[in-house]
Symmetry: C2
Subunit: 392 residues, 2 copies
DNA sequence: CTGAAAGCGCTTACAG
DNA sequence: CTGAAAGCGCTTACAG
């Protein structure tokens, strides 16, 4: 910039003003500056210099789950990202997807990685409690907004009441469905190719009014089919990032570091408890479809299992694939319930708890931008809606 | 950092060395520095300062299509991003999704937006020729790798031969399918819930050996069903970013600024031409499912249309939804062919040209990182594979 | 409307 | 193993 100023016969301040377009420059001079810059091959002001000087980078750091690659396999994460991106685009803020060493628990290495990011604030989605990357971000003392988890004192959060939503959804399935709240099954969705997976039992449900009382109302039907399910497998992707796979006991659940997973499982268990159904919690231990399939497979080894409550749609969809491959009738033999309300769930007729994912992202992003402008955004709890479709 | 140095009784260089972990510091001193930093509330070295000093930011700028929000609705873009992210994660490089004013053609505003990014290089996917954001990025003279398009002299590119792949796929469909290359239809895919959309005509195809000769071999079947399709609607999301919607003439196609769209359409048309089938090109003019549905609807108004060749899976899936809603038999009355090979296409049994999207992303990212290290990566053409499934 | 000056926060080459 | 010094590229408050 100094060279351009020299060559153009103006001060460096004038070159800067030409680019920032502050209007503090006569058009003629401005054009002249640009012409000289072009001639010298000056690429325009460097972002690094401007960031250092202004204290603003125009980017926010985004951390999704603890492995970006897996997040991009999860439709729920992508929908959330879409909400974030929409606001970013409108406000011309870049989204910096931050990397950190995966599987490494060395706090120093993770912290260093987070520190490298040139960002004005952080958006954190669904990271485990105490994750070093979150702590490193918090230590930066830059604005931060949490989505779903972890919960951090004094840091605004956007979320839903996962525990209550899971509890109510579980209760509804165990009771045979609450009156009037179910979605329309076996009908083409608007955005997809219109294929709906209605199993043979897809149309059978109790008359709404009759099922309100809770469990014990077993519908007449072929072998094992019942709306009052008795043995539930609760499937969860991960409760804590320690590689555990398979059955989960009460102590492990209590100590779970994944806020959302913990709450949803707790909600499902409360529903089972209230309905007198037996529940087994099985943890996939990872986020790949293969992990999910293995967990579903383990669930089906439970003697007499007649319902699967999955902590996310992704897990539920993998369970459906496993059931389909084994020729198990859904929901005749096994009911399946998801959580998230992804587009894919609607497409295949998966019963689920719908949460406004795109809005979650856009709200969080707006809150973060407000915080960057030194406003003081408040935490926000969004509503959920139970969508009973063909799999329950 | 100066304050920490002062308080710790060391030089600023020593504080810096403590954080960069260069090992040029005795452990005792290092711990002491950290302790003082904690006490003073020093959040660690700022990324902006380090970026300015080292000339590296540790982030690469990513531009996908010309609206991030739409890109995140497209499974193909997300798969590509996953490839990029996997390499970024492994090499600890952040991905900065760059925003630019959408729908604004004011080059100066777009350029300013791109310049703000603190990045070490650019990854560009599927932007229109001459887009001001790409030109602004190129003007920065930082390393750049193009994915699919635009083509820029001297800038390495990762892509496939879209024209040839589309031509061969179109020819195969018009001829009734080449022997031995079709996928397995009506079988559960591995990763999805296993629902496959086999229309009533899903199983009918010519015996491979008989159909090799090309058109004119009309299979016996109900009304209008034929493997030698006669009237093809070629559906494309967008040829140029000017809002055009509906039929496309030769001049518009020739002038198309979206490299990939242009090539795929040209390939489909060449196939129709060779097979003596009549073809009409229809442009959706945007990237939303609604745009795609409208284009599909327009296609179905073509008298006697018996095949839809879509330039992307996303468009083909929207067409399938439209056909399903109208009760049109696929492929009995209308065959549908996509392009991209997304997971969703496999799930619903859509015939498509499969391209290695994840690898495309990971290759491009590796090439960019090599370019940043002053290596000189070469352009790369990846293979495609025709997947004939239930919709043709 | 334009310029001179200061300083944002760091890292590194060099010297000891 | 540690320190003194320089400078990365910019923008802005101030003066004229």
């Amino acid at each position: 910039m100094r060279d351009v100023a020299l060559a153009a016969g103006v001060s460096q301040a004038t070159v800067s003003n030409a680019y920032t377009g502050s209007g503090r420059l006569s058009p003629g001079r401005r054009e002249h500056v640009f012409a000289v810059a072009r001639e010298l091959g000056y690429p325009g002001p460097s972002g690094a210099g401007r960031s250092l000087r202004t204290g603003r980078s125009g980017a926010v750091g985004v951390m999704v789950t603890d492995a970006l690659t897996f997040a991009l396999e999860d439709a729920a994460a992508v929908e959330l990202l879409r909400g974030i991106a929409a606001v970013g685009e409108a406000r011309e803020v870049a989204l910096t997807l931050l990397p950190f060493p995966v599987g490494v628990d060395e706090a120093a290495a993770v912290a260093a990685s987070i520190r490298r990011g040139v960002v004005d604030g952080f958006l954190v989605w669904s990271m485990p409690d105490g994750h070093p990357a979150v702590e490193a971000a918090a230590a930066r003392r830059e604005p931060m907004v949490l989505i779903d988890g972890p919960r951090l004192d004094g840091v605004p959060l956007v979320g839903v009441d996962d525990e209550a939503a899971a509890r109510e959804a579980g209760a509804a399935v165990l009771a045979g469905g609450p009156g009037g709240r179910r979605g329309v099954a076996a009908v083409a969705s608007d955005s997809g190719p219109g294929r709906v997976a209605a199993g043979p039992g897809g149309g059978r449900r109790q008359v709404p009014g009759l099922s309100a009382g809770g469990r014990g109302q077993v519908a007449a039907g072929p072998a094992g089919e019942a709306d009052g399910r008795q043995r539930v497998a609760v499937l969860v992707d991960r409760l804590s990032p320690d590689g555990h796979t398979g059955r989960v006991d009460a102590a492990r659940l209590r100590a779970a570091r994944d806020q959302v997973a913990r709450e949803r499982v707790a909600g499902f268990l409360a529903a089972c408890d209230a309905a007198g159904a037996e529940a087994t919690v099985i943890e996939a231990g990872g986020f790949s479809p293969r992990d999910f399939r293995a967990a579903a497979s383990a669930a089906l080894e439970i003697n007499g299992v007649d319902a699967i409550f999955a902590a996310t749609d992704a897990v539920a969809l993998a369970a459906l694939a496993e059931l389909s491959e084994r020729g198990v009738d859904v929901p005749g033999q096994v009911a399946v319930l998801g959580f998230d309300g992804t587009a894919e769930a609607a497409r295949v007729g998966l019963s689920t708890v719908d949460q406004p994912l795109v809005e979650k992202g856009s709200h969080a992003m707006r809150m973060l931008l407000a915080a960057i402008e030194h406003e003081d955004p408040e935490s926000l709890l969004l509503p959920t809606r139970l969508e009973l479709r063909a799999t329950t």
